[in-house]
């Protein structure tokens, strides 16, 4: 590609981040997962996150759900990106969704107790996944869990929003929005306008 990528406003950004550390959601986690931030000034240990909306019992559940939705599996996932903190912050600011998420978490716990005899966070990862599969996979849906599916869809939406607006999420996708270009970026396959043969060339 013709353009040379430059990290935009790198210095400003890091300074801004440091200043914002105290109150920006997700910060306590992801700043330390960002390999390129080597600035010693940033190596302060952030205070443990204190949820603004979720209770002490609910927050670990949210954290666990985000981790299951976007796991760490070779590349960092929702946990490293501090997605649960982001969700807590957004929900704290959104009166319209508080009730739905709170009752959803209660429903999931009751469902876990009923199925496996324990609250959700105390189940094994395998038990947690098999409990969620009917809520998250269309071909595993079972009748009668509409409320659960709705809640899980909402949780997944928040997780996606939190993860892919984090620096870790940008790196996961190799998001091009971090860069400047010298000329308008051009399709690199001039001989193949229909792009019929790409998969073989890049697989």
């Amino acid at each position: 590609m013709a353009g040379q990528g430059i990290q935009r406003r790198e210095v400003l950004r890091i300074l801004g981040t440091a200043a914002a550390a105290a109150h920006f959601p997700g910060f306590s986690k992801w700043t330390f997962a960002c390999g390129h931030i080597g600035n010693a000034a940033l190596q302060i240990k952030p205070a443990e996150y204190r949820p603004q909306f979720f209770t002490a019992a609910e927050f670990p559940m949210v954290e666990r759900l985000t981790e299951i939705i976007i796991p760490s599996d070779g590349t960092p996932g929702a946990k490293e990106a501090g997605v649960a903190e982001f969700i807590d912050f957004m929900v704290a600011n959104d009166p319209d969704v508080k009730y739905g998420l709170r009752t959803g978490l209660a429903w999931l716990n009751a469902h876990a107790e009923q199925t496996d005899g324990k609250p959700f966070v105390e189940l094994t990862p395998e038990q947690q996944t098999s409990l969620l599969e009917p809520l998250g996979f269309k071909d595993k849906e079972r009748p009668g869990a509409e409320a659960g599916r709705h809640f899980f869809r909402m949780m997944r939406k928040y997780t996606v929003a939190g993860f892919y607006t984090s620096e870790i999420g940008y790196k996961e996708l190799d998001n091009p929005a971090l860069k400047f270009y010298a000329e308008s970026p051009k399709c690199p396959h001039p001989g193949d306008p229909e792009h019929a043969d790409l998969s073989s060339a890049h697989s």
């Binding site: 950004r13 801004g16 984090s166 396959h189």
Partner: protein, 558 residues
């Protein structure tokens, strides 16, 4: 103390006002410009180089604010520049979104930059299909003004020889991305055009302005001025003449008149002191944007103008039109699944377009009259919106998001509503803004013709996507609500007959010879093209007509 009398008072500093201010100042006239908001400081106010995680709500904005739907441009990156203080109302059954940028430069700070000329097919539409009336001027009369505007602002495109789209003088176009080549091939099979858009984004340095650095996010402002906005391109030229006094936080209230009903100046509210202040001029240019200009003029009631200034026709505020926007189709291109990420987002949705192809040979070829254009878009965007449509969770979900990241495509329609007696703006008889001025009340519904275009576009775009080898996933359930496009036109339409039109062919009001209108409110019809470049061209022409009237002594210079 003798009161100061300017030559011209200009209300508004957006595309129309900015062009008037620059043109009048350069001609040696003393201008006082009123702007409803403050000046922006690009370093501080343009937050587009910030990453989402540097923003409090990750750029997604405060949920409480989002629910008020101020419009897609009014977001966490730019909200300080948009007006949230002046309310408006809607008549029963009307939905309306009204994003208003009160900052100096108005919406040009954040505009979409698509810059197609109107063509003869637009100016003579009524002769062709029998609906409404023709514009009071032929294309060839406005064409030289477009050429001059294109030279001033810089538009990237190609010569395309399309019957509905006169060509101009262009900077090199944007390069096509992978998705453009794929969709272009699909369009060829279906027989519809797929071409570089006319994009006022500088693909090379132009008239002292730097070339674009292709960072994307243009609609959150550009802090190097690599696309046209009046604070970068026009106002500095006006200020260099020393003929301009620009008053900020000055909310225009009404046009003042003398005993003959001629304009003598403007009363405005100083939003800092909340005091009403008057400024005086030999002529007044209203360029506050289509709906706000109508509000100011309707609110300019006097013994001479009991229904609003220059409203003997009763047409002030009437004939409101807007562009219907909506997602005609969305899906993805399997060819691009699993490909490396690519900077597809560098010009938002204005790299390519599918310019009007309907009703070109025969005005009644389709089930609707006139035509619409399509803006295709897709590829790697800042946020993977498509993820919510995918199934499942866990590693497979995460992997699929990454694989699909370069592949989504969508088609956005831009379709003109037709004028109707039931679409208009008036003053709310009860509700007043915080400064005591009646608020604008919208009366609007999409007409049958434009809704037929919407249905038609869904069919064609689905066909194009499939012909391109893509997978169709759906379309918008309904078009966006009226007002969404920020392209409202028509409240002070131009025409030769003073009984039926507010302004004449020069944008001068029929009733009040020293009152001019320089925004999209003078447009006789909405067309399938965006408004800004035409506002600039018409404002340039109106301003030169005004200057000529000063030279001829019709308005006396101070």
């Amino acid at each position: 103390m003798a009161k100061q009398i300017y030559d011209v008072i200009v209300i508004g500093t957006g595309a129309g006002g900015g062009m008037a201010i620059k043109t009048l100042c350069e001609a040696g006239l003393k201008v006082c410009a009123l702007n409803a908001g403050r000046r922006l400081d690009p370093e501080k106010d343009f937050r587009y180089h910030r990453m989402p995680w540097d923003m409090k709500f990750r750029g997604l904005d405060d949920p409480k604010r989002l629910s008020q739907s101020f419009g897609y441009m009014d977001n966490e990156y730019t909200k300080a520049a948009w007006d949230h203080e002046i309310p408006f109302t809607v008549a029963p059954g009307t939905k309306w979104m009204w994003p208003r940028c009160n900052a100096v430069g108005g919406k040009t700070n954040f505009w979409g930059r698509s810059s197609a000329r109107f063509g003869e097919i637009d100016f003579r539409a009524a002769s062709l299909d029998g609906y409404d009336v023709d514009w009071p001027l032929p294309y060839e009369e406005i064409s030289p003004f477009y050429t001059r505007v294109e030279k001033m602002i810089g538009v990237a495109s190609t010569v395309q020889n399309r019957p509905s789209n006169p060509d101009g003088s262009y900077l090199p176009p944007f390069n096509f991305r992978c998705l453009d080549f794929i969709l272009e091939a699909g369009c060829k099979k279906v027989g519809v055009p797929y071409l570089p858009d006319r994009c006022a984004q500088l693909t090379q340095p132009h008239e002292g302005h730097p070339a674009c650095h292709f960072c994307g996010e243009c609609t959150t402002g550009c802090d190097v001025g690599a696309f046209f906005s009046t604070p970068y391109f026009l106002l500095p030229k006006a200020e260099a003449t020393k003929n301009l006094e620009l008053l900020t936080n000055a909310l225009a209230k009404n046009v003042l008149v003398d005993e003959n009903g001629h304009a003598t100046g403007v009363a405005y509210i100083d939003r800092k002191t909340r005091q009403e202040v008057e400024v005086y001029g030999r002529a007044v240019v209203v360029a506050a944007s289509c709906l706000e200009s109508a509000r100011i003029m309707l609110n300019s009631k006097s013994r001479q103008w009991p229904n609003g200034i220059a409203n003997s026709s009763g047409q002030l505020g009437r004939n409101l039109c807007d562009h219907l926007y909506g997602e005609s189709a969305r899906g993805y291109l399997p060819q691009l699944v699993g490909q490396p990420s690519f900077p597809d987002h560098v010009a938002d949705s204005t790299i390519a377009w599918m310019p009007r192809w309907q009703n070109l040979k025969d005005p009644h070829e389709e089930k609707f009259i006139r035509g619409y254009s399509i803006y295709p878009d897709g590829g790697c965007s800042e946020f993977p919106w498509f993820a919510n449509e995918l199934d499942g969770f866990g590693s497979s979900f995460k992997r699929e998001i990454k694989r699909r990241y370069p592949a989504p495509v969508s088609f956005g329609i831009q379709a003109p509503s037709l004028r109707s007696d039931t679409n208009f703006v008036d003053l709310d008889p009860e509700v007043k803004d915080p400064y005591g001025m009646p608020v604008a009340r919208m009366h609007f519904e999409w007409d049958e013709n434009v809704l037929k275009m919407w249905e038609h576009s869904k069919q064609v775009c689905a066909e194009v996507l499939r012909a391109a080898g893509g997978v169709l996933e759906g379309s918008g359930e309904a078009p966006e609500i009226p007002g969404w496009s920020l392209h409202e036109t028509g409240t002070c339409r131009m025409g030769n007959d003073p009984k039926n039109f507010v302004t004449n062919r020069f944008g001068q009001t029929h009733d009040v010879p020293n009152l001019y209108v320089c925004d999209a409110s003078v447009f006789l019809s909405c067309t399938d093209k965006t408004t800004t470049i035409s506002i600039l061209a018409f404002s340039l022409r109106t301003s030169e007509h005004l200057i000529e009237n000063f030279r001829r002594g019709e308005h006396k210079a101070a």
